[in-house]
């Protein structure tokens, strides 16, 4: 096969952080596994996150993406393998612990209150105050200024931070959530399907902010099921399927077509084409699937079974 997987041992032990040139990764997972009772949700996952790099986690529904980020964000603990933060073995007990370690997760539902002004949302739960005793009050002007400044640095130009956050578009809201995580000291940013509910244009906006966060030196974990979104912004790609890693690639070693092929799985597509044919499916759709099957066959003649 054309795509060359990263030699995981080499990457974890030898590669230096591209920005700081230190020999440790911001985060590194080595053969991490997790099971719920007798259900194995995740096994043998190895990946790394570095400053100024975007690590994409790709997989279909039920591939184990959620389990993986829940382990990193402190919602669940892993049972196997090791999870290191700055080279130190850790097991995070709560999202608070993860936040203290500099890991912030931006979830799909974003955790914003849509009726509240942008600046109130930005500082919600960590409000700045001034004064003492009964006169301790919100430092409104400072919070507004900081919100405006932080969003401007993310490239969002807002005329008024006083407007309810619900008035912003989905992409902009996503960006406010990202900017908030960055401001409150996140070193690692986990983005859970940030483009899933967005249109093409909005997705583009969010992808640009991912790059912006990367350029500000954050390590980004970008979870998605869309290789077309992952490929342009990602530096490394971890592919998950049914709780297992089916590939871990550096960008220079893989093309978008190969990534798509690996994601889709040639065998499943062929099966789908067959099924559609039997059902007397729409010819156009059928041809499309057939073409896709051929594409997959070319890109990855033998499915990636060897690397399990």
């Amino acid at each position: 096969m054309n795509a060359q997987q990263i030699d995981q041992q080499t990457l974890l032990k030898e590669e230096k952080d591209p920005l700081t040139h230190t020999p440790v990764h911001l985060l590194s997972l080595d053969k991490v596994g997790k099971h719920y009772g007798n259900v194995i949700a995740l096994r043998d996952v190895t990946m790394a996150v570095d400053n100024g790099r975007v690590t994409c986690v790709l997989g279909d529904n039920g591939a184990g993406k959620s389990t993986l980020i829940k382990i990193i964000a402190g919602l669940h603990q892993h049972d196997e393998g090791s999870f290191k933060i700055m080279g130190e073995d850790r097991k995070l007990g709560s999202p608070r612990e993860a936040l203290d370690a500099g890991i912030a997760a931006v979830y799909q539902d974003l955790a914003v209150v849509s009726l509240m002004p942008i600046w109130r949302n930005f500082f919600l739960g960590s409000e700045l105050t001034t004064g003492a005793g009964p006169f301790r009050r919100l430092d409104v002007q400072r919070m507004k200024d900081i919100t405006l400044k932080e969003l401007a640095e993310m490239g969002i130009d807002l005329r008024d931070v006083e407007q309810p956050i619900g008035q912003l578009s989905g992409g902009e809201r996503q960006c406010v959530a990202i900017a908030r995580a960055v401001y409150f000291g996140a070193k690692v940013l986990i983005l859970d399907e940030p483009t899933a509910a967005l249109g093409v244009k909005q997705s583009g906006v969010v992808l640009r902010y991912i790059l912006q966060a990367r350029d500000r030196g954050l390590g980004v974990i970008f979870i998605t099921h869309n290789p077309h979104h992952a490929f342009p912004v990602g530096d490394r790609f971890l592919l998950l399927k049914r709780g297992k890693s089916i590939g871990y690639y550096d960008k220079k070693d893989i093309t978008l077509e190969e990534l798509t092929a690996q994601m889709a799985g040639g065998a499943e597509l062929a099966e789908l084409a067959h099924e559609l044919e039997q059902l007397g499916g729409h010819t156009e759709a059928l041809n499309e699937v057939k073409a896709e099957v051929e594409g997959v066959a070319v890109a990855a003649p033998e499915s990636s079974t060897k690397r399990h």
Binding site: L115, G125, F135
Partner: protein, 346 residues
């Protein structure tokens, strides 16, 4: 308050930028328009309405609703409502009066006991709500019924009658009356002390809501409790605290009722909870939470007071009052809705 001077000039700069739009997005704007219309209307058809004495009466009527509307508005912004407030006011008054009478103690002991009872009712409402995650409609409907029963049952059990014995000869009555039920002479007019308590409560509530962390949390738990929890807002404490604030307002009104009339009818209070909720809703608080203001609740209460007394001054049959109230509720909420949509779409 020395620091306030530092931030004031920059605040002014922001608020003058687009004053009209700023005003239009205020939650209480619909109620304000309604209040002005109603005021002009009654002034026109009943000239006596404009006399200082009449205004003082209107304000007094408004304050007895408004004091509760402050707590109820905050609670509604926090996403819940309380159906037990009407009878809880009476429970508070009964507690103070029966406690002092039965144990032959200074009335102030009873007043403090009533405060504990009122805060306790609020705490229990809130605690059951957050523990069971039942809707506040069910939880407070249950406490409403239980309190209504307790009021009647305990009063008869302890005092042997449906009303409490008069407390006017108990020690401390005069000082307590001075605080909860006296009147202050302004010019030639006697203004009831409840009007000043009401205004003070509105100011405090507005300060808390707009300028403190707790205020931010109240908006957040009402707007989206899950999102609030995810960013570290203490949702449970905020909700319980709001119910206790309602309890506190109920205590003040209960004490006023007690010291204004010396005796309490144990069956009173049923139905008043809706007046408080109506005042908050007319004032622009969203029933679903996350939006509203304390000032709005005050304007709602003022509308109530004007309609209530204005009908008398206009020499109409007071039978029409309820119809009027319903109409005001409908119109004010529709105006609120339109104004809010228009402001948000800009």
């Amino acid at each position: 308050m020395a620091n306030a001077v530092l931030t004031a000039p920059s605040d002014e700069r922001v608020s003058t930028r687009n004053p009209l739009q700023k005003l239009l997005v205020r939650p209480e704007i619909g109620a304000l328009v309604g209040a002005v219309v109603l005021f002009v209307f009654f002034s026109a058809i009943a000239p006596v309405f404009l006399q200082p004495n009449s205004l003082a009466t209107v304000l007094y009527g408004s304050s007895t609703i408004g004091i509760m509307a402050v707590g109820v508005a905050l609670l509604m912004i926090g996403g819940e409502f309380d159906l037990s407030t009407g009878v809880a006011v009476i429970t508070s008054a009964l507690s103070a009066s029966m406690f002092s009478w039965y144990f032959s103690m200074n009335i102030w002991v009873g007043v403090l006991f009533a405060l504990v009872v009122s805060l306790g009712i609020g705490f229990i409402n809130g605690w059951i709500l957050v523990k069971t995650k039942l809707p506040s409609f069910i939880v407070t409907l249950a406490t409403f019924l239980m309190l209504a029963g307790l009021n009647l049952g305990l009063t008869r059990l302890i005092g042997g009658a449906v009303a409490t014995p008069s407390i006017s000869d108990i020690d401390g009555f005069d000082t307590a009356r001075a605080i909860f039920a006296s009147s202050v002479k302004i010019g030639t007019v006697d203004v009831n002390v409840t009007v000043f308590i009401w205004i003070a409560l509105v100011l405090i509530a507005s300060w808390v809501l707009l300028r403190t962390r707790v205020g931010n949390w109240i908006f957040a738990v009402g707007g989206d409790a899950n999102a609030a929890r995810a960013v570290g807002v203490p949702v449970t404490k905020t909700k319980i605290g709001l119910f206790m604030a309602v309890g506190f307002c109920g205590w003040i009104l209960g004490m006023h009722n007690l010291f204004a009339f010396n005796t309490v009818q144990s069956g009173e209070g049923v139905g008043n909870e809706f007046l408080y909720i109506i005042a908050a809703v007319i004032g622009g608080c969203l029933l679903t939470g996350g939006y509203g203001s304390a000032v709005g609740g005050a304007i709602g209460a003022f509308i109530f007071g004007m309609a209530n007394k204005g009908i008398v001054y206009a020499q109409w049959n007071p039978d029409w009052f309820k119809f009027f109230l319903g109409l005001m509720l409908l119109l004010a909420t529709i105006v609120n809705l339109i104004v809010k949509r228009r402001a948000e779409s800009k």
